[in-house]
């Protein structure tokens, strides 16, 4: 068990009245992109605080971190090409 726990990329939860397709995609499709993205991380073995990390999934490099609500997480999510 690690000290930190990965909580997946930051995603927008659909509105309650969104189309079924949108809900199904949100619920069952887990994106696994080669990209720089904002992610949820949980400091499980210590302060038990969820926080945000901007990480490059190709190199596993952590570029910055923030507390929830501190940053706009949607705009930084950039899809990267191969290599």
């Amino acid at each position: 068990m690690g000290e930190f726990h990965f909580g997946g990329p930051v995603r927008e939860r659909p509105e309650p009245d969104a189309l079924t397709d949108e809900w199904v995609a949100y619920t069952y499709d887990q994106p696994n992109r080669r990209a720089v993205q904002w992610e949820w991380w949980f400091h499980r073995a210590a302060c038990r605080q969820w926080f945000l990390v901007r990480r490059d999934t190709r190199t596993n490099q952590v570029l910055e971190s923030a507390m929830p609500g501190e940053v706009a997480t949607g705009t930084h999510d950039s899809e990267a090409g191969d290599e």
Binding site: P16, A18, W23, Y26, T27, R44, R48, W50, G69
Partner: protein, 928 residues
């Protein structure tokens, strides 16, 4: 070389073998004249020692029940039972070697094409293929008894490889003020130097003093007989040391893993008697073996002459040194050199009998057959760069030296010595020292002083013909690879997957260079264009037990505040996650009875307990639970189920409103941390909510006083009014119990009048003792979770995680009333709405089985002989007078009174579905 006193004996396939002190198993076998050690994977060809350095698959045997032991690097011990693998009935006459004659019908990938149709026969084929192909067998009996350990270590600098470069790196890094861990997979430090004394004659003193300097250095921790098999994120190095897995976290890593000798590919290159020079050297110098008879040495560099001299000194007649170069690569002395020639094939089935040698590019014209027993190859090394590649270093093919070396290093990694393509002894030492120095300085990764090529590029032969093996592990020939490329598997990655080359126990150490070379030639490309396959852990095979093992001494154990009391009372403990919980106090049936008829007390401190405060708690709870909480009155408690967005039940528990903006929640024992993290995540997604969550699971102990006499008992230690009017069913009261402020929830998991009493942990034992004393007259008993499970089953109260799983939603689990789809939004609403519209799947129902036979969990529920469900809980119920339980059954069988069939001890028994509690269905006792 060894601490052993005298010779020892062990058995090989029942035959007694004597080993000299310090000899390996393989060395002793060789000395005893056993030259066929195994049978090959697919064709069951006879195989003998080949690399003798712990890389190739040929020496794998089962030793004392452990399969796939590398006998060439495993010291012989007295009374070992060594058995050969993959041969039936025996090594000498393996009937399955008939496959060797049938190879024409078993081309590469044949099982993908031949055996998948007709489909129903595949399981038959699969069973046969598994029986006749493959490696050793796991001894289930002894395997189950093995214990594996785990350890975590930290080090400023980790040096992988204890050869000349690695030792120098370790010394220098220590000198730079670092704590160093040196990982080496051999018995003794020294690497290649130990087995090629000819090259080291003048340096013996320097060598010994260097080894001593490493061993004497208090800052260097040496892990010998330890294999680094993986490099993971943030310089985590995975090391296997015997039955122990070491997670080694490094500040800086110096990789000095050296090189692997490259085998040549020619027909018959797998016959016993064909060996690599480094292996021969090890057998000569480490094991004191001889190679009686005639030997042919094939080489393109000086090491071939070293091994030829060494063989001759041990009594072998070297009949030819076949040198690829036109002018000998080293002073031949009086060795019979054949310059500008190579080996074209060997003959002999269970051992080499002769070799065909001739000009490099001209097989037919003027080649000559030489009678010999040994064919020794010394055609250079490839870099052992698997760990570097895993770490994210970029490797390029160095055309001039025909090897892969690192072009770009990952952060914190550097390489020294042969793994860097540096084979000169002095250059290795220089690189090692520099790598150690830079690592100690903690600078970023980088290449170290790459010494220019000191050997000429190798001559590329063009061998063809069948049974020229590229891959010894999986019996893949060069022709197989050409065929696979012709079929379209031209990319090195797809070629690997289709042909399984590089996928055997050697993990490409013997075959990677050869397979890339074959792939390049088949495609008419260069090796650099062909590239190499992605390197992944493990670099060296690891027993699964080592990966799965846990450190028992580090196993977290949690004890409740009442643990000592339970121990004194003679509790039988059960592991529930990390918790130790009383299963019973010796007599669960009596404990059951006392709760139904009198009063009992159970420790439920392991429940997760969360306190929520803030303006928006009600809104938050409305969002994370499918049922309603906004209108829950202060002083009331309600059952709730937590679902995820897919509508799957994550957990269940109770939610109490203590004050307008102060709430107290309980979760199950097993999922307390999960629910805590789940709630915290939702709170993090909505920072605007005014909700503060405090986990009071450890700070608060809890006990459940249950039974018809519980009110009477509680009232003697509690001043408040406990009448049904003052504290009704589902009341959440703040009372003083035995002088201690307590949260008292009137809930009844066990189906009787009961009070769940939450008090500060440090006062729990006092409250418990007071309650036990107050109940003494009423015959109070403590009860454990076995009694609790029986009691709750009478009421069909489900246990989340026991009766539900990752597919259970509230509708199917018999809790449809808990889902309020008219709420505008809550977690899981969308999925639950969709679920409701669909045909119902399996339903969780109660069942009653006459008699006292109890189906074990999970017994199967059958409909017309088909598996259609399972029993999740079952116990004999004294109050019902029958066995009762919960089971998932098809929707068609889920109605009250329907019959279901359960498999019990191989028989089919019939049970009746009952969808209301077996005991007190109106809840009169609960509410009394």
């Amino acid at each position: 070389m060894s601490s052993q006193e005298g010779p020892c004996t062990f058995t090989f396939d029942g035959r007694s073998i004597t080993a000299r002190p310090g000899q390996t198993i393989a060395g002793a076998l060789h000395q005893a004249g056993v030259h066929v050690v195994s049978r090959s994977f697919k064709y069951h060809r006879a195989r003998g020692l080949f690399c003798a350095t712990g890389r190739c698959p040929n020496c794998l045997c089962t030793v004392d029940g452990d399969p796939n032991v590398r006998t060439c690097v495993t010291p012989a011990r007295p009374d070992m039972a060594v058995r050969s693998q993959n041969a039936w009935p025996g090594l000498k006459w393996d009937v399955l070697s008939v496959f060797d004659r049938l190879h024409r019908f078993m081309p590469v990938g044949f099982y993908y094409r031949v055996m998948h149709k007709p489909r129903f026969l595949w399981p038959v084929f699969e069973a046969i293929v598994r029986r006749i192909a493959g490696l050793g067998r796991v001894d289930r009996q002894s395997g189950g008894r093995r214990r594996y350990d785990r350890q975590t270590l930290h080090s400023d600098v980790v040096v992988i490889g204890g050869g000349w470069a690695g030792m120098h790196a370790a010394i220098e890094a220590s000198r730079g003020g670092c704590d160093v861990t040196l990982v080496d997979d051999r018995e003794e430090l020294g690497g290649h130097a130990l087995f090629d004394p000819v090259s080291w004659v003048e340096r013996e003193a320097e060598f010994l003093s260097t080894v001593q300097a490493v061993l004497d250095d208090p800052r260097i921790r040496v892990l010998n007989r330890a294999t680094a098999f993986g490099c993971y994120e943030d310089r985590l190095v995975a090391v296997q040391a015997g039955d122990r897995m070491i997670r080694l976290r490094a500040g800086q890593v110096v990789v000095a893993t050296g090189g692997w000798e490259k085998p040549l590919v020619f027909p018959g290159n797998d016959r016993p008697g064909v060996m690599l020079a480094s292996g021969v050297q090890q057998m000569l110098w480490r094991d004191g073996c001889q190679f009686p008879g005639d030997a042919v040495v094939v080489t393109d560099n000086a090491s071939g002459y070293h091994v030829a001299h060494a063989l001759r000194a041990s009594g072998t007649r070297v009949v030819a040194v076949v040198d690829h170069n036109e002018t000998p690569a080293a002073d031949p002395g009086d060795l019979p050199v054949r310059a500008g020639q190579t080996i074209h094939s060997v003959s002999g089935r269970r051992h080499v009998t002769s070799a065909v040698v001739g000009p490099l590019d001209d097989e037919a014209a003027s080649s000559e057959s030489i009678r010999c027993r040994w064919v020794v190859q010394a055609v250079g090394f490839t870099t052992a760069s698997g760990l570097l590649a895993q770490a994210g270093c970029r490797l390029v093919h160095d055309e001039s030296r025909d090897l892969f070396r690192v072009e770009h290093f990952a952060d914190g990694f550097r390489a020294a010595g042969a793994v860097n393509g540096t084979f000169d002894i002095d250059a290795c030492a220089r690189e090692g020292r520099l790598a150690g120095e830079v690592a100690a300085a903690g600078e970023g990764g980088g290449a170290i002083d790459i010494t220019p090529s000191e050997t000429s590029p190798p001559v590329r032969r063009t061998p063809q013909g069948k049974k020229a093996f590229v891959c010894l592990c999986e019996d893949v020939t060069e022709k197989d690879l050409f065929d696979a490329v012709a079929e379209g598997f031209s990319n090195i990655e797809t070629l690997k997957r289709y042909s399984t080359v590089c996928m055997g126990p050697c993990q490409g150490k013997m075959c990677q260079a050869g397979s890339i070379d074959a792939c390049a030639r088949a495609n008419g490309k260069t090796v650099a264009e062909t590239g190499r396959t992605t390197a992944r852990p493990p670099d060296q095979p690891v027993p699964l037990g080592v990966l799965a093992g846990r450190a028992p001494h580090r196993h977290l154990v949690r004890r409740t505040a009442l643990h000592d009391w339970h121990t004194e009372a003679g509790a039988v403990f059960l592991d529930s996650g990390a918790w130790k919980r009383p299963e019973s106090y010796g007599d669960p049936s009596a404990e059951y009875q006392v709760v139904r008829e009198g009063v009992g007390l159970i420790d439920v401190s392991t429940l997760g307990k969360l306190e929520l405060r803030g303006r928006d708690v009600a809104e938050f709870l409305e969002f994370v639970y499918p049922n309603r909480f906004a209108k829950l009155k202060v002083g009331r408690v309600r059952y709730g189920v937590v679902c995820d967005e897919a509508g799957i039940i994550l957990d269940d528990g109770t939610i109490a409103r203590l004050e307008d903006d102060r709430w107290f929640l309980t979760t199950t024992t097993g999922n307390a941390d999960g629910v805590d993290s789940w709630f915290r995540w939702w709170l993090a997604t909505r920072p605007e909510w005014d909700v503060r969550l405090t986990n009071v699971s450890g700070a608060t102990a809890a006990m459940n006083l249950a039974g018809p006499m519980s009110r009477q008992v509680l009232s003697t230690v509690c001043d408040g009014d406990l009448s049904t009017e003052a504290v009704p069913y589902l009341a959440a009261s703040q009372l003083t119990v035995a002088g201690v402020p307590a949260i008292v929830l009137r809930i009844g998991f066990v189906g009787e009048l009961g009070y769940e009493i939450h008090v500060p942990s440090h006062l729990a034992e006092h409250v418990w003792r007071e309650l036990m004393a107050a109940g003494a007259e009423s015959g109070i008993r403590p009860f454990g979770i076995e009694a609790q499970r029986r009691l709750r089953l009478d009421k069909q109260h489900l246990l989340s995680g026991q009766d539900t799983d990752a597919l259970s939603n509230p509708f199917d689990a018999g809790l449809p009333w808990i889902v309020k789809l008219d709420k505008p939004d809550f977690v899981g609403r969308s999925a639950l709405q969709r679920t409701q519209g669909r045909d119902r799947g399996q339903q969780l129902v109660g069942f009653r089985l006459e008699g006292d036979r109890v189906p074990p969990e999970p017994s199967l529920v059958l409909v017309d002989g088909r598996l259609e469900g399972r029993v999740t809980s079952a116990r004999y119920s004294p109050v019902v007078g029958a066995t009762v339980g919960l089971a998932w059954v098809p929707a068609e069988s889920a109605e009250n009174g329907q019959q279901i069939t359960i498999q019990l001890d191989g028989q089919l028994v019939h049970a009746v579905v009952q969808r209301e509690p077996f005991y007190d269905p109106e809840g009169a006792r609960l509410k009394s």
